[in-house]
Symmetry: D3
Subunit: 133 residues, 6 copies
């Protein structure tokens, strides 16, 4: 049983409903997932997080599918079950095939392995890597 009740569209106040409408319009879907319906119990939080997500996840110099795969990488590293489910689904809807997922998770696994090796061996940063943009 979830400890937090969700706010359904037909019972939502106008300010919540406006966010839901924007979510569905932006994503071209006809439903709102549990993440947003739970955040809606805290209207300010819903408003802030959605405004950020809408801006950050929009295609820019990095395309939308790549952004979703980056999201999956963070979520798997943190072990966030809900986020793994929802962002794999989002990446699939944007074109990620099973073969691509296989490569994605291979990189994630390798990175988690070598991160621990670098920390454990306390490897000093090479001068060549100390370059600024």
């Amino acid at each position: 049983m979830p400890m937090f009740k969700m706010v359904e569209y037909n019972k939502a106040k106008p300010e919540i409903r406006a966010v839901y409408d924007d979510i569905m319009a932006t994503r071209k879907t006809d439903w709102v997932n549990n993440f947003w319906k739970t955040l809606a119990t805290q209207p300010g939080l819903l408003r802030r997080v959605w405004a950020n997500a809408k801006e950050v996840m929009a295609p820019g110099k990095i395309d939308a599918l790549t952004k979703e795969m980056i999201y999956v990488a963070v979520s798997i590293t943190n072990g966030c079950d809900y986020c793994i489910h929802s962002h794999i689904a989002a990446a699939k809807s944007k074109g990620m095939t099973e073969e691509m997922f296989g490569e994605l998770i291979s990189v994630i696994g390798l990175a988690n392995q070598t991160n621990s090796l670098a920390d454990g061996f306390k490897i000093p940063v090479d001068d060549q890597f100390e370059t600024a943009f």
Copy 2:
């Protein structure tokens, strides 16, 4: 002072030198970074990790730059200082601009934020996300 001595090319045994040569040939560089020179204190570990890294990081269904950005995402989430430095440098060498890094880290920041929100609110996974490949 690093606690682990590094194995320099000119003092390396043939099996180590062969790995170093392969690293430089694969990356089209003329130097080997501290990560590999430290792992070389454990020849089996060097061999295994390089064999994996070479295969996993090669361009496939996901291109090499995207793979480096995924690596950066994991490394930042884990807070691995050496890996953040080395993989940002690698991504830059493959074409990541400062503007792209700005988008990359924005996604990483958002994902770390929403991961904690999803865990904290204990949000149940939507049925729509329970689809198999």
Copy 3:
């Protein structure tokens, strides 16, 4: 199915029962939660952890509710499901309202976001922050 059997009050040895009695007396409740009943399979661990928890969580310069909210912040950051449930419940019993939880989780989300930004940008510590108590 839990992999570890729990020790119920009526089957507990005197030394375990004494800890259970102290837990209930300290918390003014008439039941012991699964965390302690599981730790009781290792009497030394039960004794040490309870002694620490009793001392650390007692109101001092920081009040008991604030301490529970700090506990929730750590538990959400670590993604510990049991701890999130139990310490949100504890915080509620000490007066945390849903609105307060909304503010608490907003801070937690922001901190997890900016932690990754600070790590990723490798921001040097300002001299002004290098002050001792």
Copy 4:
């Protein structure tokens, strides 16, 4: 050497300068710390993160000092060096004494310990904790 150049006030564009002015006015200080001066290399990120931080960290149902202590708890759990320094400093400026910090870090240490115990013993959530707000 930081890999990312910082944007100093006197070289900042008007939109950046406006954020800096707001930061100093909100905090009643006459300087801007490295975190914001680094984020300013990405104007959109600076704008979004500051807008959120200003709103989230303002006193509400939870006071400003408690919010800073919660921030410290997350930052220590994540091991974010910059954030630990900056938010301990912020908490001190809002009234956290060394004795309070001692209690704060005691709770953080206990929570990190018991989080791992609860995960390791795979303790089932008590029915009593499954209550909604």
Copy 5:
């Protein structure tokens, strides 16, 4: 419902079946667990990870049981539910008693506690610890 179908032995291609046979022969069991049956959806990943695991987990200067307990320590610290289950089971099959598990998890809990204390107090490394192998 798992999002990833598993590859059963009787439907596996020869290259997958060869890995399964090697897993069962190495472990002296007559079944393959879900981890490998899921990785088998990505044959290259299955091959690489198994080759590494076989080599790394074999008894060497550290015995097989100790290696499993180290695996459990990492898995609990990361909160990886599947890995906690599977490696506690593996350690039990290699001789870990409940009393040994009690000591193991006590060390894990203590280490997670003191890790956060050392990070939070930002304790400088003693010169005496800066020795090389």
Copy 6:
């Protein structure tokens, strides 16, 4: 500069000095490391953590060297720099050779890799692993 002053032996109050004496007697050394000298700023914390560490790290069903290696595994996984240094040093003093460290870190690296694979693939726990002690 450390933000927390350390309490030196010759300026310590009797209750602190007693703990220092016990640390040195237990470890058969003639100095106290920075961890304890920093915790000593909070006498209750020093007392509690040392009492636990003394009991937990004493040889029992698991020997003292193995316990130190488990400590290293947790510390590397958490990326705690101080703890990595101090517990590698402690393990070396108890007999860990460089070759053993090579095996230890290989297991840690593998475990961090497969933890992320298991989380990412959301692998269901096998019935065979659901056995109680």
